[in-house]
């Protein structure tokens, strides 16, 4: 009996795998269909990608149209924030070319001794997320102008850029806030070069409030401290006479990670909101980490904040001005030291940059600057590189790259919503780059 029933089991049991075997072809066909669908959709996606025929490894998206430029950097930014592995990029050595190559790079102001130069190189950088749209565009155009140079930039955040250059794992870093001087890392003294002028927009998504919102420090502090919770709050209404404010709830959004824009806004609130802000957990020293994290929502990177503002009615948050331009956000006008309410624009941010006299890595703060047309939330982004370039050939390429970014490349900044560097800052960048030297201490550039 027992034997018999076991037999029965075996028969039934064996029928199952047999049956499954029959269905395997069907599964295979299904998988093939899925694959085919994926493949057929690839070309459409590829159309958005840069048309990059000369290079193999550059990640810079080609800004063929404004929509492309807007879409690609946000995807890159989200990806890199997600994969910390990308921050541990290894410094790529310059591939030395045997053939003598020309020293001249169209644009730029530096001239170098030609004997050590090689124009074919892959440079790796990491740092600020806010500068990513500019960098991806400007590196692409540099590659177009000087075909040998590829730049891989990982926009993982300013602090990552600082850490990576200090540990000498990248050829250059980038930070919205300069390192405290004297700046140095495992590779010796670090030079800090201002490369772009940006601003921080306070963008909002409030149906029924299409524009013209004015805010000052105390009211902004109230919003981000959760003390002002309705859009028609008396304090907001007092600044906006004649504006029809809706009675909806305010949903503030801040950066969940450390950020340059967060530092600028923190500095502005410390300067203008008085004890409302400084008496809170925020304290009196500006921090790249957003200090008030128990109010509203925190999102990662400019992309995350921008996505939240787009998705949430009643939201207000701070993003790099270039991101707000690309997203088509409405931005609040902020009160400046001259008593004017100014919206962020290339003109008003350029005005803030022009006020920067005696700019240096120690005197870098241009938040809440003087002047009637000045937008108060502006800052320079700083590229960090070692003064002593152990690989002189790569050092020359790097120097020329940064020089090109601060001169000819500034045209690309304008196209994205950044403001071009004022002449005195370009001069500062130039004189800083002249300090680059090879391992023997001999200057890489003569003038």
């Amino acid at each position: 009996m027992v034997h018999h029933s076991e037999d029965g089991d075996r028969v039934r049991g064996s029928s199952r795998p047999g049956g499954r075997g029959l269905w395997l072809p069907l599964v295979a066909v299904g998988a093939a269909a899925v694959l085919a669908a994926a493949c057929s959709s690839t070309p459409t996606a590829a159309k958005l990608k840069p048309k990059d025929t000369t290079t193999t490894s550059t990640t810079a998206p080609a800004p063929t149209t404004t929509t492309t430029a807007a879409a690609s950097p946000s995807t890159t930014a989200a990806k890199s924030s997600a994969a910390p592995a990308t921050t541990t990029t290894v410094k790529a050595a310059a591939h030395s070319t045997t053939a003598a190559t020309s020293c001249s790079t169209s644009g730029g102001t530096l001239s170098a001794t030609c004997d050590t130069q090689s124009t074919s190189a892959t440079l790796t950088g990491a740092g600020a997320n806010s500068i990513q749209p500019f960098f991806s565009r400007v590196f692409y155009y540099f590659n177009q102008a000087d075909h040998g140079v590829n730049v891989n930039y990982s926009p993982a955040g300013s602090s990552v850029g600082v850490t990576d250059i200090e540990q000498d794992t990248v050829a250059f870093g980038d930070s919205e806030i300069p390192i405290k001087t004297p700046a140095s890392g495992t590779g010796g003294n670090i030079l800090q070069v201002p490369v772009d002028l940006g601003g921080v927009a306070l963008s909002y998504n409030v149906p029924g409030l299409s524009g013209g919102l004015k805010l000052n420090g105390p009211v902004l502090a109230g919003i981000f401290l959760g003390k002002i919770t309705k859009w028609d709050d008396a304090q907001i209404a007092a600044l906006n006479p004649g504006v029809n404010l809706p009675g909806s709830t305010i949903y503030p959004v801040h950066r969940a990670d450390s950020s340059g824009p967060g530092y600028d806004l923190d500095q502005y609130l410390i300067d203008t909101a008085g004890s409302t802000w400084t008496g809170s957990a925020a304290g009196t020293t500006a921090s790249t980490k957003w200090p008030i994290t128990n109010v509203g929502v925190g999102q990662q990177l400019n992309t995350g904040v921008a996505t939240y503002i787009q998705q949430t009615q009643g939201s207000i948050g701070y993003v790099e001005y270039a991101y707000s331009v690309q997203a088509g956000f409405t931005n609040a006008a902020l009160l400046n030291t001259a008593g004017d309410y100014v919206t962020p624009s290339q003109t008003s941010i350029a005005a803030a940059g022009a006020e920067a006299s005696g700019l240096s890595a120690t005197n870098f703060n241009i938040v809440n600057g003087a002047g009637a047309g000045t937008y108060p939330l502006a800052n320079f982004s700083w590229t960090l590189l070692y003064q002593k370039q152990a690989n002189a050939a790569q050092g020359v390429v790097l120097g020329k790259l940064v020089d090109w970014v601060t001169t000819t490349g500034q045209n690309q900044a304008k196209a994205l919503g950044y403001s071009p560097l004022p002449a005195n800052v370009v001069a500062l960048a130039h004189s800083t780059l002249l300090q680059l030297e090879n391992s023997a201490g001999k200057p890489l550039f003569s003038s």
Partner: protein, 328 residues
């Protein structure tokens, strides 16, 4: 008694040649290599665990020295003082994991039972492949999907709907913003349900056909067969799948950080934004300055490892106790 012992036969005399044969087999290079691999593998694994814990302990010692043990349950956040609200993160981790596990048990086990017992093979075979494919999707993809697709869907449709359900609405008060503990739990569930389904299904398929036949012979309906024979028979496998899933849910970083709202406060509702240990680590580690700041973040990592271990061991003890009482 002593007589009994004396009756035990003396050990057999060694059969000539056997020991030599065994010894020879042992001395074969393949056997030696296998033994070395066995021992080497075990030692490397042990060394990795020890090294991991040692790194975390030494990395976080500065933070523990500065803040004391209260660091483990503190709810105070001060970026200027490099202090993190560990207690808030622990609460957030436990809540999101619980939400994900509830969904994983309900959806995952039901799907596994459906696939292994009820579904016609036309449906079961392709669906099983699909489940295995989803299990292999990287968490960043799930996170992006959560941020771009689920967030607006939740804030406009799902969360307002949940607020209308009587009794349950108590869990869902407050504004429906999208990024929330609930959404984080759902995103985690999307990641762990495939694991639960795949492992539970294998366990259910492995239940002896005789058990099902016995239940059917007693007049059980299909559902009763699943309930009384298949699920109890596959319980060990299901529980193992849930343990694995829980570990993944507790430790997940990036996908959670993208949808949870990163608010460092004890959530008063499942719709409120919050933070978990994982999301706090990924948001702060890359940017932590060497010194106390980095040490404080490493302390968060240590807490995450400890909590995961505690919950796992606790869960297994609970299950073992239940199994024992069930056998009695």
């Amino acid at each position: 008694m002593t007589t009994l012992l004396e009756e035990v036969p003396p050990p057999l005399a060694p059969v000539p040649g056997v020991a030599e044969a065994l010894g020879r087999r042992r001395r074969r290079p393949g056997g030696r290599l296998y033994a070395a691999l066995r021992w080497g593998g075990a030692l490397v694994f042990g060394a990795v665990v020890v090294a991991l814990v040692a790194t975390l302990v030494s990395g976080s010692s500065q933070a523990f020295g500065h803040f004391g043990l209260s660091l483990l349950w503190s709810d105070h956040y001060s970026p200027a003082k490099d202090q993190y609200p560990t207690g808030v993160f622990i609460v957030g981790t436990l809540i999101t994991t619980a939400v994900a596990l509830v969904l994983a048990v309900v959806v995952g086990v039901a799907t596994a039972a459906f696939l292994s017992e009820l579904a016609p093979r036309v449906v079961a075979a392709p669906l099983s492949v699909a489940v295995d494919l989803i299990a292999a999707v990287p968490s960043i993809v799930v996170g992006l999907w959560g941020l771009l697709v689920l967030t607006p869907a939740f804030s406009h449709h799902v969360e307002p709907f949940l607020k209308t359900i009587p009794v349950l609405e108590w869990f869902f008060h407050g504004a429906a913003l999208g990024p929330s503990m609930l959404l984080a739990g759902v995103v985690l569930a999307v990641m762990i349900v495939p694991t639960v389904v795949a492992l539970s299904r294998s366990a259910m398929t492995a239940v002896a056909v005789a058990d099902r036949e016995a239940a059917r012979a007693l007049g059980a309906t299909r559902w009763q067969v699943v309930r009384t024979a298949v699920i109890p028979g596959a319980r060990t496998g299901i529980e193992a799948s849930l343990t694995l899933a829980m570990g993944r849910a507790m430790g997940e970083t990036i996908a959670v950080a993208m949808v949870i709202g990163n608010s460092y406060t004890v959530p008063h509702s499942l719709l409120a934004p919050g933070a978990t240990l994982g999301s706090a680590i990924i948001n702060n580690f890359g940017e932590a300055a060497p010194g106390l700041d980095r040490s404080s973040v490493v302390a968060l990592v240590l807490v995450l490892v400890l909590i995961t271990a505690l919950v796992n061991v606790g869960g297994q003890l609970l299950l073992r106790a239940r199994t024992r009482s069930a056998r009695r």
